[in-house]
């Protein structure tokens, strides 16, 4: 879907992207990075709205330097910021946007109605968008990105400003676009936890550099560590953690649990946990394998930005 090689973007003395080589395939790809990591800049370059200082890229087989109009015909873009005129109804606006993507009038009306239904705007679609809640605005923005049946959509922070329930709805919608609609998705977020739930592949940017690009399962694989919970409160948890630490393991409290890092040598961690609990006379509630999270990429790979 997307291939870039050596994309560098400089704004004056600031280097927003540095020699970026990434490739994006089918399904949902998460583009992760802190605010200012260069996610939006990269999307603008791929749309042909910004000319990179150096480097080349292909989107759907088209060169961004020479065929950007053709690319913009085949991709959809949902920008991060508010971009809806307040004095038009979603229905009229989405039809107009479909026409601006090249759909004939009848097809534009049909597709607009279909798309609005898919994103979950029902009767509200006939109301002026100025009165919409943030959740409805995000849905309308998503609808305009999908209305021309693109082969690829760029979703820039689709969960921005949404409450937890709306956030989950939006993420499920993103997942459906990638899996059921058959449209490749490049979705950005600065919240790492969100993307690990919906994306098949994750690209991590940091300060304009590629930190890591791999399948989501690689990020969230089992680390070999354990999470242990014992009966009682913080005092019991700390006593248990300290006892484990005395045997040479690295432990830290995580909520009500004690997180045990993977043991350095081949040792039966489960037996040790059991014995330690028995020695202290503490009741074990649960022992579960610890999973890595996307956040760990930033901790282990020495990110330069917070």
């Amino acid at each position: 879907m997307i291939d870039t090689s050596g994309i560098t973007m400089r704004f004056g003395t600031v280097e927003a992207l540095t020699a970026l080589d990434i490739s994006v395939g089918d399904g949902v790809t998460g583009l992760v990075g802190a605010n200012g990591a260069g996610k939006s800049t990269l999307i603008k370059i791929l749309l042909g709205l910004l000319e990179p200082t150096s480097g080349t890229a292909h989107v759907l087989g088209h060169d961004i330097a020479t065929e950007s109009a053709e690319i913009r015909r085949l991709v959809g873009y949902m920008p991060e910021h508010d971009c809806l005129p307040p004095d038009v109804s979603a229905s009229d606006f989405i039809v107009h946007m479909a026409r601006m993507s090249g759909l004939p009038a009848t097809a534009a009306r049909e597709r607009a109605a279909d798309t609005l239904r898919h994103v979950g705007l029902d009767e509200e679609r006939y109301r002026q968008m100025g009165g919409y809640s943030t959740g409805m605005k995000q849905r309308a923005k998503l609808a305009q990105a999908l209305v021309h049946d693109p082969s690829l959509v760029f979703l820039d922070e689709p969960t921005n400003g949404l409450d937890p329930a709306a956030r989950i709805d939006m993420l499920q919608l993103v997942q459906r676009i990638g899996r059921d609609f058959g449209i490749a998705v490049l979705v950005t977020s600065h919240l790492l936890g969100e993307l690990e739930k919906v994306s098949d592949h994750v690209i991590v940017l940091d300060g304009g550099r590629l930190l890591q690009s791999s399948a989501t399962s690689d990020f969230t694989q089992h680390t070999g560590g354990l999470l242990v919970e014992v009966l009682g409160g913080d005092a019991e948890r700390d006593a248990f953690g300290e006892a484990l630490a005395r045997t040479g393991l690295t432990c830290r409290p995580r909520g009500q649990l004690v997180a045990v890092d993977p043991p350095p040598r081949d040792l039966s961690l489960h037996a040790l946990v059991r014995d330690t609990a028995a020695d202290l006379g503490l009741g074990l509630v649960r022992i579960q394998p610890d999973q890595a999270h996307l956040e760990d990429v930033f901790l282990t790979q020495g990110a330069t930005h917070g």
Partner: protein, 291 residues
């Protein structure tokens, strides 16, 4: 709320394999939408009031003039085409100033320009199409009363051979005027994104300056220093139009009488100003796209 009785069957996502229009057809769609929006068509009922009120005010006097010609049996129009436009210049300018923000400020202010620019139309073509919509709307605004004068005059028995060349020359000058007014008001509205600011700035740039130019021209004519009046005319689109309408017999009236060389200078000035406005508009939209 009434309970929903119908059942919506989710038939899943359907793709689109039908034809997709080329860039030219897209620009045409945008042009037509823009032209309709300039008159408030396809927008809220309230936004139709001002353009149609102004249009009515611009046409009614022409109907009266035709009535007078018919009843009194004059053998020429008491107010000819370009001179009539000079009379309603305030209305034309107000129309341009009030409707330019509709086409140029809205997308920039609400940032919906980003959605347009993420679509196939290049930013430069977008800006030019918007300008073409506004220029056409202004042309419709000026053409309508002159058509009433021309058609009504012919029906009242005026000589076709006399009227037609004058009318056609006036239409040519209206083209120039519409292009200029659309360029200037469009440029102002693409920079001053609040509608009030854009309207006031356009009125300052067009009506107030035109007034000052007229005063300077009157004084120059009274004092007998033609050169000052001729140079002053270069600063207002209306003075350019009125001066050329007088010089090239498009049924115009002007305080100053242009020599041939000055007439060509006026035309060249109009073209240069229009081209400069277009270049700045294009630059503005290309820059917005990269932000």
């Amino acid at each position: 709320m009434a309970e929903r009785t119908g059942v919506i069957h989710d038939i899943g996502y359907r793709g689109y394999d039908g034809p997709r229009e080329g860039t030219g057809a897209l620009a045409l769609t945008l042009y037509v939408t823009g032209l309709r929006h300039a008159f408030g068509l396809g927008r809220s009922g309230r936004s139709k009031v001002l353009p149609f009120l102004l249009l009515g005010l611009g046409v009614v006097p022409a109907v009266i003039v035709v009535g007078v010609v018919t009843m009194v049996r004059l053998n020429s129009l008491p107010v000819s085409y370009a001179a009539y436009l000079g009379q309603i210049q305030m209305l034309v300018t107000l129309f341009a100033a009030a409707q330019a923000p509709v086409l140029f400020s809205r997308d920039l202010r609400h940032r919906s320009i980003v959605l347009y620019l993420a679509r196939p139309l290049p930013p430069a073509l977008f800006a030019l199409t918007r300008w073409a919509s506004l220029a056409s709307a202004i042309l419709v605004f000026t053409l309508l009363p002159t058509l009433v004068l021309y058609g009504g005059g012919l029906l009242a028995g005026l000589d076709t051979g006399d009227e037609t060349p004058v009318f056609l020359r006036s239409v040519a000058l209206q083209l120039m005027l519409a292009a200029l007014l659309a360029g200037i008001t469009g440029l102002i509205s693409s920079v001053a994104l609040r509608r009030g600011f854009a309207v006031v700035a356009s009125i300052l740039a067009l009506i107030v300056v035109a007034g000052v130019v007229l005063i300077v021209q009157e004084i120059a004519a009274y004092e007998g220093i033609e050169a000052v009046g001729e140079i002053a005319g270069l600063f207002s689109p209306w003075a350019l139009h009125n001066g050329l309408a007088q010089a090239w017999e498009a049924g115009g009236r002007s305080t100053i009488v242009l020599t041939d060389a000055w007439a060509w200078t006026y035309l060249a000035t109009a073209l240069v100003v229009c081209a400069a406005c277009l270049a700045l508009l294009v630059r503005r939209f290309v820059k917005v796209g990269s932000r």
